[in-house]
């Protein structure tokens, strides 16, 4: 099997690449910095003996050069799985967020994913079995004044994935969307978190294990499904006092 991992060089993306390579899958890894990608690719080739193709693309930027995705994926014989653990948070994501940063947030967390899927979906539909995996956040359950554009873009992404699953119904493409609680990655680093951060390596193992088996909306850690369900129900006079 060949998997495409977008946002592969750090955090959850790197763990997914590791878990996929450990399972013997060839990889096509996409990230913004070629140095990180080359280091990742060397490591996976040497330790796991898999083929790894790299592509440096700044998907938070102008979203150009996406046609290179298709060409690079073809080098490995076409993708069977597309995983999109791409994400970014800004330090001060409040109502005063500047346009540049807001645009980058929305591009990185939402538009880049839709653009990549649009580019590779025709290829995926030609495979006998294929998977698309997106990653959202419990933060999207209810926005706060400190993560406004981030939660908005992640909520948009979750809604878009609902549509994608609907669009792929009856095809060979399975669509799953993981809603994540706190993970021990750079996205949560330096932030006070109410609950412990989960190990991204364990999540990656689960995602790879369940690739093509499970679809729909999945929560990780599972207990966060309750948090996600409860947050919108909390009365605002209490919610506004919560430090999450």
């Amino acid at each position: 099997m060949t998997a495409v991992v977008v946002g592969a060089s750090a955090g959850l993306g790197r763990e997914l690449a590791e878990a996929l390579a450990a399972a013997g899958h060839d990889l096509f890894v996409v990230s913004s910095d070629v140095r990180d990608l080359e280091a990742l690719a060397s490591d996976l080739r040497i330790r796991h003996g898999v083929r790894v193709v790299v592509l440096a693309l700044d998907l938070g930027g102008e979203l150009g050069g996406l046609d290179r995705l298709k060409r690079a994926a073809a080098e490995l014989g076409g993708p069977d799985a597309l995983l999109l653990p791409i994400g970014w948070t800004a330090a001060a994501d409040d109502a005063t967020l500047g346009r540049d940063v807001a645009e980058r947030l929305v591009r990185t967390n939402f538009l880049s994913v839709t653009a990549v899927v649009a580019e590779l979906l025709p290829e995926l539909r030609r495979r006998p079995r294929a998977s698309i995996v997106g990653f959202g956040s419990v933060a999207a359950s209810r926005a706060r004044g400190t993560n406004m554009a981030y939660s908005a873009s992640k909520r948009a992404l979750q809604t878009w994935f609902e549509g994608l699953r609907h669009a792929c119904a009856g095809t060979t493409v399975r669509v799953s969307f993981y809603v994540l609680g706190y993970l021990d990655t750079s996205l949560a680093f330096g932030r006070r978190t109410l609950l412990p951060r989960a190990d991204p390596a364990r999540l990656a193992e689960r995602v790879v294990r369940d690739l093509g088996r499970l679809e729909g909306v999945l929560y990780y850690p599972r207990a966060w499904r309750l948090v996600g369900a409860a947050l919108p129900l909390v009365p605002f006079f209490i919610f506004k006092r919560l430090k999450l």
Partner: protein, 453 residues
């Protein structure tokens, strides 16, 4: 416009950092980069010091208000050429990760310090030694080249030909010359995965010295273990351990590193009260000798256990409790070793110092800069950390200076600058070169401040 946005956010957290011996603690900001640009952003912004596994007994990877750069996420294999016996890895790679890669291919890093979670960057920065420094030298002899990040010089590839001075300064430079990003290392053939360990009983430190002198040349490694209880006829009793690495099957992939619980400088403090004391040390010493006496004189063990004897015996360090231990390591010239050991024994017995154990091994190398290296005999003492023990360390400072020895900088979190300046002939040269390279002291730690570097 959008390109001016710095990505990703270089957030930091704060945490309490402890020297492994428990002698120094400081709360410091730290970050844990997993991308190169995050490392670059961190280095550009403030005083900083790189941290690997955090196993230095001295506070070499934190302190003095520096941002701690935890390098453990930069742990990838960049190049592996078994035919040339070369491997290039990022600085945060742990020795056990490297061993898991190379051992099934019949290759091993010749110098392996005592704990498997120590990182390659830490090994370079402290120029560590392994089980047989008489034969293998120190870690720098395995280093082919380094990739170093310096805020003023950029990212450099340095070796004996390119920036040789900087290369020399960085090997054993305590992280004060820049951030080590990667290292190319020379490996040596690995004959098999079973070590054969022979035990020879001895009654004194002098017998131990004679034993390692006799056996080191013909063995893969030789070292001693001595009871530390400060009582006549008891202090110095022990064994010479002589190891051989015979030919045999190599370990399969995935079976190189056994399951064991990582001990860290923070988790070492788990027991509040120390359980080592004069009575328990004596009891342990006697029990250990008796237990060893009942075992076969020669036994075999997986090489992992021979290389890292404390990995699966972490309790030894836990028993020192929250207050910690004091380790003193002194490298004395061959010609002075017998007299040094005689005086050491006299002082231990006179002061009734709370020594738990002692050990001896032989060394070979060049005394330069601030490296713990040279031709001589390395003597190690472990003591229960207390006011009494710290006073005794000053006696050991005096003995080391008197016999032209070197105290080991990363083994003692209290070692004063004056002792280092007087014992290390390369102290002034290191200081001068370090100041020329980094006049603003971008890279600093408690160790560098204490030693006035």
């Amino acid at each position: 416009m959008a390109s001016s946005i710095r990505l990703p956010a270089t957030a930091s957290e704060t945490a309490s950092f402890h020297s492994f011996d428990g002698g120094f603690v400081e709360r410091a900001a730290f970050c844990r980069p997993d991308r190169y640009r995050t490392v670059e952003a961190a280095v550009a912004s403030r005083p900083v010091i790189a941290r690997g596994g955090g196993y230095s007994y001295a506070a070499a990877s934190f302190g003095s208000g520096s941002l701690v750069l935890d390098m453990t996420r930069l742990d990838r294999v960049l190049r592996f050429e078994p035919a040339k016996s070369l491997v290039e890895v990022e600085a945060g790679m742990r020795l056990e990760q490297l061993l898991a890669l190379t051992a099934p291919r019949g290759l091993i890093l010749p110098v392996q310090p005592g704990y498997p979670a120590i990182t390659v960057g830490g090994c370079v920065a402290a120029n560590v030694h392994g089980k047989n420094p008489q034969r293998e030298g120190t870690f720098r002899q395995s280093v082919v080249d380094l990739t170093l990040l310096h805020p003023r010089l950029g990212t450099l590839r340095i070796d004996h030909e390119h920036e040789p001075d900087l290369f020399e300064l960085t090997c054993g430079g305590y992280g004060l010359t820049g951030i080590i990003l990667a290292a190319t290392l020379r490996l040596e053939p690995l004959a098999g995965w079973t070590a054969s360990l022979e035990r020879v009983p001895i009654e004194t430190l002098a017998e131990g010295l004679a034993g390692v002198r006799e056996r080191t040349g013909s063995a893969s490694f030789a070292y001693t273990w001595h009871e530390g209880t400060p009582a006549p006829g008891v202090f110095g009793r022990g064994f010479v351990y002589v190891g051989q690495l015979p030919e045999g099957p190599l370990p399969p992939r995935g079976e190189v590193v056994p399951r064991y619980r990582h001990l860290t400088a923070a988790s070492r403090r788990r027991f509040v009260v120390p359980l080592w004391g004069k009575a328990t040390s004596r009891l342990f010493g006697a029990s250990f000798r008796a237990a060893e006496g009942m075992r076969a004189v020669q036994r075999e063990m997986p090489l992992f256990d021979a290389l890292f004897p404390f990995a699966r015996r972490g309790e030894y360090f836990l028993l020192y409790g929250r207050r910690g231990l004091a380790e003193y390591q002194s490298l004395v010239p061959h010609e002075a070793a017998s007299d040094f050991l005689r005086d050491l024994e006299r002082e231990v017995l006179r002061a009734r110092a709370p020594v738990v154990m002692a050990s001896i091994k032989l060394f070979r190398g060049e005394k330069r800069l601030l490296r713990f290296e040279g031709d001589g005999v390395c003597v190690t003492l472990n003591l229960v950390r207390s006011a009494e023990a710290l006073r005794f360390l000053e006696v050991l400072d005096r003995l080391t200076l008197e016999f032209s020895g070197l105290p080991h900088i990363v083994k003692d979190s209290r070692l004063p600058a004056g002792v280092v300046a007087r014992s290390y002939p390369g102290y002034a040269e290191f200081l001068e070169k370090r100041r020329a390279l980094d006049p603003g002291r971008t890279f600093r730690s408690e160790l560098s401040t204490r030693l006035e570097l």
